[in-house]
């Protein structure tokens, strides 16, 4: 039941995000575009929460919908930009853009559907996905399903708080009693051990970005 609700919520939020993305492209006024972008990022964050990636959802809200959007609005208001008189460059160009985007979306859909096992799962419309129960008995995928181990090519596995607690070093009894999934802890463990050096290098990229923005934002000297 819980899974069915989360599955329906995914379709609701995904549809809302796609609508807001259309709004970003369609509105003439840049401020309306920016507001639609904020909504789009908010719905994307909701999709992250549905996937169990709470930390990334929060980061999406704070960094994209908070920081980046405010920066955009600052610049739009500072430069005092009027709505475009001709929102589209020309009709043929718009047609070409829609065709290119359509071909791209078609390819992505084709590749996503033909990935092994990618359509296994539950969803409101039966046509859209294969049911989990259809895994042939005795196959590797079915054996993995029953043992709670989902290798590539099987349905998206449920999160297991007990396994996560064990991975973080809890003893058997504590792990069995765990109910919440420690998403942030596991992400931090990966970030600060395996990816520590890239993380430090990234801070230099941010520093370079800040210095570059200040250097570009200065008034040019007249000599």
């Amino acid at each position: 039941m819980e899974s069915a609700i989360s599955s329906i919520l995914f379709y609701v939020f995904a549809a809302a995000a796609v609508l807001c993305a259309f709004g970003v492209v369609a509105f003439r006024n840049p401020v309306s575009s920016a507001m639609n972008m904020a909504l789009c990022f908010g719905f994307t964050a909701a999709v992250y929460f549905g996937m169990g990636a709470q930390f990334l959802g929060i980061v999406q809200l704070i960094v994209y919908a908070g920081a980046i959007l405010v920066l955009f609005l600052f610049i739009i208001m500072m430069l005092d930009i009027k709505a475009e008189e001709h929102a589209r460059k020309s009709f043929p160009l718009a047609c070409i853009a829609v065709i290119i985007a359509g071909i791209f979306a078609g390819f992505v859909t084709k590749v996503a559907i033909s990935l092994p096992g990618a359509t296994v799962g539950e969803c409101p419309a039966i046509v859209l996905c294969e049911s989990i129960g259809e895994l042939a008995p005795g196959t590797i995928a079915q054996k993995a399903e029953t043992e709670g181990f989902a290798p590539y090519g099987s349905a998206m596995p449920e999160l297991s708080p007990a396994a996560a607690a064990k991975a973080l070093g809890a003893d058997e009894a504590t792990a069995a009693a765990a109910t919440a999934f420690p998403d942030t802890k596991l992400l931090g463990q990966s970030l600060f051990t395996k990816y520590n050096i890239p993380f430090v290098i990234l801070s230099f990229a941010l520093l370079a970005g800040t210095v570059g923005a200040v250097a570009l934002g200065r008034k040019l000297r007249k000599d």
């Binding site: 995914f10 995904a14 796609v18 970003v24 492209v25 840049p30 789009c40 994307t44 992250y48 990636a53 990334l56 960094v63 980046i68 920066l71 955009f72 610049i75 500072m78 430069l79 930009i81 475009e84 589209r88 460059k89 160009l93 853009a97 290119i100 985007a101 791209f104 979306a105 992505v108 590749v111 996503a112 559907i113 799962g121 539950e122 969803c123 859209l128 996905c129 989902a150 290798p151 998206m156 596995p157 449920e158 999160l159 007990a162 996560a164 596991l186 992400l187 990966s190 970030l191 395996k194 890239p198 993380f199 990229a205 941010l206 970005g209 800040t210 923005a213 570009l216 008034k219 040019l220």
Partner: protein
Amino acid sequence: MTPLAHYLIFSGILFSIGLAGVIIRKNIIVVFMCLEMMLSAANISLVAFSRAQGVNGIPMYDAQVLALFIVAIAAAEVAIGLALIVAMFRARKSVESSALNTLKD
């Protein structure tokens, strides 16, 4: 759980709307917003794969770390890009992409 393919299709649709926006729109600030949307669409498929590749009920956190790095890079990119747009506005008094035609004429 929703099948992996649907997350990937959602991310693909968001990416292609962003791509269409980059081609259609004239206002460079809106073009830049569409670029941000494309980055965030790529993040969705990374997180979906991290769930699908999970072993023993624990997602592959490598993909989520990469998504976190992309968010940080996007923040740095926006800072520099908007500074460039301000510099362009000072030089041309416009943020339309058609104003950048020095090499054409």
